[in-house]
């Protein structure tokens, strides 16, 4: 039997925690973790080093808690989903529940937040195969209002320092939330003239353009993965989009950015890119691989069609 607020719940029990101080964070995290330990449940912490240390010092010495290295897991949303799903599958074996408190690194609340908002929404579905009670902590002092609004819409419940676990009231089913158009901020590079502009390129032509534009100061693996992603995205736009397909490419000292636009509506699957689709023979995997291969991917829909933007390198441009 699952214990605590998630007792009787089947699948993923997804809560947000908004805190203003370390005390408030501990006021929720400590009873949450201790309750799990007492009930013999699996207990994990995925916080940055200072907060993890804060929790560790507040817990009894030798408490059976798994500390996950937060940083790497949160490099790319599609990769985080894959890694957590794999871990949950083994970590919940023989356990009635896994409790985990986590927090996204502050850098992800900026230029790449759109992708992490999609992540927070998609995991309501993607983690629902597992008896996991997850609390996602957000520091109210640094979270911008639009991020806060997304947090409320992507978490069914909110855990409060007073011990309550209430519905957020704004929760939106992932299929609906993910289908909405929430424009990601334009990369400032996109306001400059592109280095390359191609109309209706073949995947081979698009790959060659990326290789040729490689300024040579990005890690070669990152460029090679961008080549793969661009190839898949151009193939999808050509096969499933509405012509013309326009590819634009920009280079900066720390990143390469490629956008591919067509006049169609974009992928119909709300989880496109975040979860692998199909058996791989009909192209369902291509977009998922692109999301795994790039440091940031945005989907943008408007009256003019669908644009997917791929970034290799540092995607955290200043607002």
């Amino acid at each position: 039997m699952r214990t605590g607020a998630a007792a009787g719940h089947v699948g993923y029990f997804h809560e947000a925690l908004l805190y203003d101080s370390d005390e408030e964070l501990l006021a929720v995290a400590l009873p949450f973790l201790l309750g799990g330990i007492e009930a013999g449940e699996r207990v994990a912490v995925s916080l940055d080093a200072p907060h993890a240390e804060l929790v560790r010092r507040a817990l009894p010495v030798g408490a059976d808690v798994t500390y996950l290295p937060g940083g790497d897991v949160y490099a790319r949303p599609a990769a985080a989903i894959r890694a957590y799903r794999e871990w949950f599958a083994s970590a919940t074996l023989g356990r009635t529940q896994l409790r985990m408190v986590g927090e996204l690194p502050p850098a992800l609340l900026g230029a790449t937040w759109d992708a992490w908002a999609r992540y927070e929404s998609a995991i309501n579905h993607a983690y629902d195969d597992f008896p996991v009670w997850g609390i996602c902590a957000y520091d109210r002092r640094v979270v911008p209002p639009h991020v806060l609004a997304d947090v409320m819409r992507t978490h069914p419940r909110i855990a409060r320092p007073d011990g309550s676990h209430e519905p957020t009231g704004a929760y939106t089913e992932p299929a609906t939330y993910l289908a909405e158009c929430r424009p990601a901020p334009l990369d400032p590079l996109q306001q400059t003239a592109p280095l390359v502009e191609l109309t209706d390129p073949t995947p081979a032509h698009a790959r060659e353009a990326v290789r040729a534009a490689d300024p040579g100061h990005l890690p070669p693996d990152g460029v090679e993965d961008l080549v793969m992603a661009v190839s898949e995205v151009v193939c999808n736009a050509t096969r499933h989009g509405t012509p013309p397909v326009r590819l634009r490419l920009w280079c900066a000292a720390d990143r390469m950015v490629v956008s591919v636009h067509d006049l169609g509506a974009g992928p119909k699957d709300p989880y496109a890119g975040l979860l692998p689709a199909g058996d791989g023979t009909e192209g369902g995997l291509g977009l998922w691989i692109s999301h795994q291969s790039c440091d940031h991917v945005t989907h943008h829909r408007d009256a003019d069609g669908f644009t997917i933007r791929l970034t290799a390198g540092n995607p955290h441009f200043p607002a």
Partner: protein, 275 residues
Amino acid sequence: MTDGGVTDPGHGHACLAYDDPAVFHAWAVEQVTTGLAAGEQVWLVGPEEADTVARRLASVPGFDAARRRGAVRLFPVGHAYRHDEVVDPERQVQAYVRATTEALAAGHTGLRVLAEATGLVRTVAQRDAFARYEHRIDHWMRHRPMSAVCAYDRRVLGDAAIAELACMHPETNTDVPFRLYAGGGDAVVALGGELDPTAHRLFAAALERADPRPTAGRLVFDATGLRFLDHRSLLHLRDHARRHDAVAVLRTRRPAAARLAELLGLTEVRVEVVR
């Protein structure tokens, strides 16, 4: 020639497509000249009568004498191949194995063939059988002193049909996206060019036609000449390995291929990155 990104040693098996018969005639002159200079026996196989071909080549220095002593032999296509039928790959390979052996026995340094094979690959069934034959003879040529240029008339066959054949050669003048041919060392097959979404059906067909078989449970693919490969190609390799209860070993210079195999959890595909 298609750029594989790496220099392939090449073993003298090329697929050349032409639109202009004059281009084909120039290749005939080149093959005869090169072959005679190297002490090889040269076979010219094509749809034309021997006399017609001979008249055209009469001005090549030494041609008449070479023909008299058997260093150059002209065959109408039906002689060397079973014309207008679906070729029997095994029988056809045996014929060239014999011809190579006889050329060596007669004191030549090897056998060089220029075959105008358009008439042999007009139908789907003919192309399927001929592509299988192309791969089998490619293995012979990789290891023995036989070379061949397989010429196809693009005006008759079109690019798609020629691509089915061109991709089974280590060298070609067509812009086929990839090439699948006989490997060296423990590699049963070598791959060059790029394997991408536009090529994956052609690749599946080529792989099925080449039908490489495992040794000790391993199917080794030398993909060091491959500039790009996508997940579909890896899945084709996985499927082929699975059919033969084997592990596909992919030797590549592309670390991305290893990341892809790991991402897809392809336990039957082992990617070995060579630098």
